[in-house]
């Protein structure tokens, strides 16, 4: 595939055609272009691919359709991972939500579901991300970016009246996956079999946290690695519909990696996780079907479409040829996309609505399985209700009004999109090769290589904006005087009174538990964590069912494995 990808790109490498109408027409067109554009250089996309003014059959000379594209659901998967793609089933509308206390979250979730949301997502408070209970943190910032969920009681309120046995839940739940443990505890209480619980451990990719956003990093790398693998093993046996691993490119692209770099780094993480699973002696066709991906979608429309198509083709190749997977389900590149917050502007914030629509379209044409559209005000604060409703409506319009889903892979066959897909594939594979050379993603992250890549590209992009090479409407061009640029409403943080009440609830919950159960569960957790082969995650779930809180579980594992201070490259 690499050879074809290299040959597919530029006109100069194409096989010469006999002099024909095509050549005459092209010569005439070139002369006119020369007169019109002069020697103006071709623009480059964010990933550094130089794009021509036009693409023609000449750019696709020698293409073998079945090798490069094929049919959806078949190798090489370029056109989609399922035979029917969005015509059969559109994407899950999975709006990220989380703010305030559990009751606030539950109310918001019900509203989202009533407005067309089809899946649950849960964003916890930053204190939860960091691995603490709310009573260990400064109260000023609690519940300002996500819901404060610490205990089985909190999760019970969050999921009140939500049919968790029937709709999928996506939990932003980094290692040690306490939110899933709390959800399973709720399911147990409600008599819902764990075999009916479906969804995804978003943010389970500890490498991306370590590398890119440092937000959720709780355990030092070796501990995080161990708990993730135990989590995968546990889910396989006990929660078979659960996607235990979501490999995240979003963080790295948001941290600055170009689209091609982000895809390459993410696939390198996936290679690392697959190798770790193989090292445990697992069959690739058992674990690979549960791998999912999570990507950022920038406003660089065609580049993003090509990124996803190329990524899908590379993953199919890697799973089959590098890991020897034989089950077609293992080859499927299932991904959730989130429109990029970095592209949104504080200036003239309503302009973010069309930006998000363009980003969402790129993800849809890229063949995603699940989508979060940012609210236009996410650059101002956590989304307001009104803005979140527009974000959902944007998806509904694209899905149901605009007929984007009538045809599978509708941009496939475009001379440009196919040439760009090939060129993005080359760029992505270069990144994978670089990480392979560094000993894989785990070693590369320890050495700071992906951190460096993200930082360098972030700076390069910022300079392009500051130098005016990359237009950002309302920021470096088409600015409004500040007094006219005022449509900025930000969500208020939850009132202090509410958070004080929540702190009181947590104290009451902790006081009412069986002390003996809690101590036993924590002792079991410690023993498993210190052991070589006991499943640590099974003990996390036991602990959640026994009333142990999130902060207590994370605290115990930090004791054993150490806290994961990220490596800062700046």
């Amino acid at each position: 595939m690499t050879r074809r990808a290299k040959a597919g790109g530029t006109a100069s490498k194409a096989v010469p055609l006999p002099l024909s109408d095509f050549d005459n027409a092209r010569a005439a067109w070139r002369a006119e272009v020369q007169a019109g554009l002069g020697d103006k250089p071709n623009p480059k996309n964010r990933s550094g691919v130089e794009v021509q003014a036009i693409y023609t059959p000449e750019d696709r000379a020698g293409e073998r359709y079945m090798e490069a594209l094929g049919f959806p659901g078949q190798m090489p998967m370029t056109r989609g991972i399922y035979p029917t793609m969005h015509r059969g089933r559109t994407w899950s509308q999975r709006q990220l939500i989380g703010l305030g206390v559990p009751a606030d979250y539950n109310a918001r979730l019900k509203t989202i579901l009533a407005h067309g949301g089809t899946a649950v997502s849960l964003i916890p408070c930053n204190s939860v991300y960091r691995g603490y209970d709310i009573d260990e943190m400064p109260v000023e910032i609690l519940g300002t970016c996500g819901v404060t969920v610490n205990s089985v009681e909190d999760m019970t309120v969050c999921l009140d009246e939500i049919p968790i046995g029937d709709i999928s839940t996506a939990l932003n739940d980094p290692s040690p996956f306490t939110l899933l443990a709390l959800e399973l505890a709720v399911a147990k209480k409600r008599g819902i079999s764990w075999s009916r619980i479906s969804g995804t451990s978003n943010q389970s990719d500890y490498l991306s946290h370590y590398i890119a956003n440092h937000m959720f990093f709780r355990l030092a790398l070796p501990g995080a690695r161990r708990v993730l693998l135990d989590h995968i093993a546990f889910a396989r046996e006990q929660v078979p519909q659960w996607n235990s691993l979501s490999i995240v490119g979003q963080h790295m692209q948001q941290a600055g990696a170009t689209p091609a770099e982000a895809m390459g780094l993410t696939l390198s993480s996936a290679i690392q996780y697959a190798n770790d699973c193989l090292a445990r002696g697992w069959d690739p066709d058992v674990f690979l079907p549960r791998f999912t991906f999570f990507f950022d979608i920038s406003v660089s429309f065609f580049e993003e479409v090509a990124k996803f198509r190329a990524g899908r083709r590379i993953w199919a190749d890697l799973t089959r040829n590098r890991f020897g997977a034989k089950d077609p389900r293992s080859w499927r590149f299932k991904f959730h996309g989130q429109t990029s917050g970095v592209d949104l502007t504080r200036e003239q914030p309503l302009n973010n609505i069309p930006r998000v629509a363009v980003q969402a379209m790129a993800g849809i044409f890229g063949g995603l399985q699940s989508l979060h559209t940012d609210s236009y005000d996410e650059v101002l604060s956590v989304p307001t209700e009104a803005a979140a409703r527009i974000a959902v409506a944007t998806q509904n319009i694209l899905k149901e009004e605009a007929h984007l889903t009538d045809v599978i892979d509708p941009l496939g066959g475009s001379y440009y999109v196919e040439a760009l897909t090939d060129q993005m594939e080359v760029k992505i594979r270069e990144v994978i090769a670089r990480i392979d050379e560094a000993g894989g993603m785990y070693a590369a992250a320890e050495a700071g290589l992906p951190q460096q890549i993200c930082g360098d590209s972030a700076l390069a992009f910022a300079r392009r904006v500051d130098d005016g090479e990359q237009t950002v409407v309302g920021v470096n061009k088409y600015r409004l005087p500040p007094e006219e640029d005022t449509q900025r409403v930000a969500l208020k943080p939850p009132p202090r009174k509410k958070m004080d009440a929540q702190l009181k609830r947590l104290a009451q919950f902790k006081a009412a538990r069986s002390r003996a159960d809690v101590e036993r569960a924590l002792a079991d957790l410690q023993r498993a964590a210190e052991s070589k082969d006991e499943n640590v995650y099974a003990k996390v779930v036991d602990a959640a069912c026994s009333g142990v809180t999130h902060g207590e579980i994370c605290g115990k594992l930090r004791e054993v494995y150490g806290f994961g201070n990220p490596l800062i490259v700046a």
Binding site: R130, P138, T144, C145, H214, G256, E347, C454, A462, P566
Partner: protein, 143 residues
């Protein structure tokens, strides 16, 4: 302003969030402009920021915030005052809602840089504040 040393700026993050794209870019811009940048990992305790500012004799403290950590800045301002360092200008960069900006300014924050702030605005704003801080320090020395 003393010409012996370039302005020294502490670029840091307090609170819970670790997103550092903005702080890294700003640090690079300030360095490009000839300033000395002391850059820390995220999640710094307020006491740690005070200690660094004092020990390293910085001229400006820059706090980067993406996910509401700016709400802790008033606490930092109080702590600076208590440590006798309230002559040190503090700037905040990142996602700061308009109402919160007013509160931060009231608490003594000198400038808030929002996501669209240009390199030029940031560099010149920080340089001016650094010069002011140098002058204040010199006054203190000769007083």
């Amino acid at each position: 302003m003393s010409q012996l040393h370039p302005p020294k700026v502490l670029v840091t993050k307090i609170g819970l969030d670790g997103h550092d794209r903005g702080s890294r870019v700003v640090a690079a811009y300030l360095r490009d402009a000839g300033m000395e940048v002391l850059y820390t990992p995220p999640w710094q305790e307020i006491s740690q920021v005070i200690r660094l500012a004092e020990e390293e004799d910085v001229d400006v403290i820059g706090i980067s915030s993406l996910a509401t950590d700016h709400l802790l800045v008033p606490k930092l301002m109080k702590a600076l005052k208590k440590a006798g360092l309230d002559y040190l200008p503090v700037v905040v960069g990142g996602i700061v809602p308009d109402d919160d900006e007013k509160k931060l300014k009231k608490a003594g924050v000198r400038q808030v840089f929002h996501p669209g702030a240009s390199r030029e605005e940031i560099v010149s704003g920080v340089a001016a504040l650094a010069a002011e801080a140098r002058a204040a320090k010199e006054r203190e020395v000769f007083a």
